[in-house]
Subunit: 229 residues, 2 copies
Amino acid sequence: MPFQTVSNRKLYVQIADQITDLIGRGEFKPGQQLPSERELAQKLGVSRPTVREAIIALEIAGLIEVRVGVGAFVRERREMSKLPASDHSPLEIMQARMVVEPEVAALAALNMTGQGFVALKSVLSDMKEETGRGRWSQESDRKLHLNLAEHCGNQPLNEIVHRLWDEREEELSGRFHQHMGSLAVVLKTILRQHTKLVEAVCNRDPALARMSMHEHLSYVHGQMSEAWE
Amino acid sequence: MPFQTVSNRKLYVQIADQITDLIGRGEFKPGQQLPSERELAQKLGVSRPTVREAIIALEIAGLIEVRVGVGAFVRERREMSKLPASDHSPLEIMQARMVVEPEVAALAALNMTGQGFVALKSVLSDMKEETGRGRWSQESDRKLHLNLAEHCGNQPLNEIVHRLWDEREEELSGRFHQHMGSLAVVLKTILRQHTKLVEAVCNRDPALARMSMHEHLSYVHGQMSEAWE
DNA sequence: TCTGTCAAGTGGCCTGACCAGTCAGAATTG
DNA sequence: CAATTCTGACTGGTCAGGCCACTTGACAGA
């Protein structure tokens, strides 16, 4: 019973997340200067290149602005959200998904064709394999949910689900999943929920599909809430 | 008069831009593997850390995906934003609204403030007046539903409702409403449903609000089905 | 045929160094 | 004394070379 998974997360992502938290919590306020790369490296116990990578990630993400020879500064929130609709909190997006996706699952159970079932089970199989290795496959997760949406027989709903997932990825690329991925029990729970969901759809049981999806999303929502409180 | 300004741009930004161009131009196709960091460094005549920084920037930007021990890959382009919204049938849009709006109404009943109540009742009043004259006010209808969405406390859901209404207007400007407007009994029924809905929200009764909205949309959906069969 | 091993290649991370902007304050000059 | 210049201690930008962990596929052994 190996209990590995010490920390698969890349260091620069961890550091970027940490700084993101500090900014979000107000420890670093807009306009304020961050410690220098060398100072951060020493305090965090990592090398300067690694800190640099985190800084660059934050700059690309639009959270900070780097001035050569001066330092890195927290950007004002107004200029931060110049990209279209990216200030949706992950929890809000989860709430929206809890409204839409259960019904989408029910519709998929009614309208999905035999070919769709095969694809769905294939994705589930991939997910099972990844989970068996103690890893989380965000790609499989995404494929599974979008697959249901694409076969629900309602194009507007399909586009809504796609949009929610795109926004979701902007928000928490890695952040939550890497937290979640460290907990084997969470992984297995989610896999079981997905399995139940896929079986319900393949058995053309819309009520059970709806309930399974709601159960799954509620669980994930709860995990996300815990992770950030 | 020296004419310097060779290139103030940071190297890793130049490299990231260059790769972005190549991806955009199709030289690197989705799913394809990029050259290794070492190879890129050599070909571009820069150091590996610099290439790494560019790679990380592209990863954060969502253009590529980096797999440890394997390489960097161009991500699949998934842009659902296509122009032709015309293949969204009005009935499909109604179905989508039936999924989303009841829950939006329930949330609005929980989160709407006193100021929101006033606006809501004002819109309802306008609608009642129009109906009394035997006319249908699409403007009031739209305002009422969007007002609920704006006060549901969930920005993604709000945007979804707005988008559905925008698509709806493209679809049936006049067509259905003119048919419906000729039947006084239909007008009065819809007014009564709206009134019940607004009262439920103002009484902070989410369950009743949800039910009222569902009842209302089901009725409209039924009328639309009849009109086109 | 199947299985386990292992070497090559990849990204992740480190040490240590030099360069080029920036800016405040010391030194110089009027 | 005031204005100017100069200096040096910061900052981030870049480089070189190296070690490690992971992934993969070929290959030898069962």
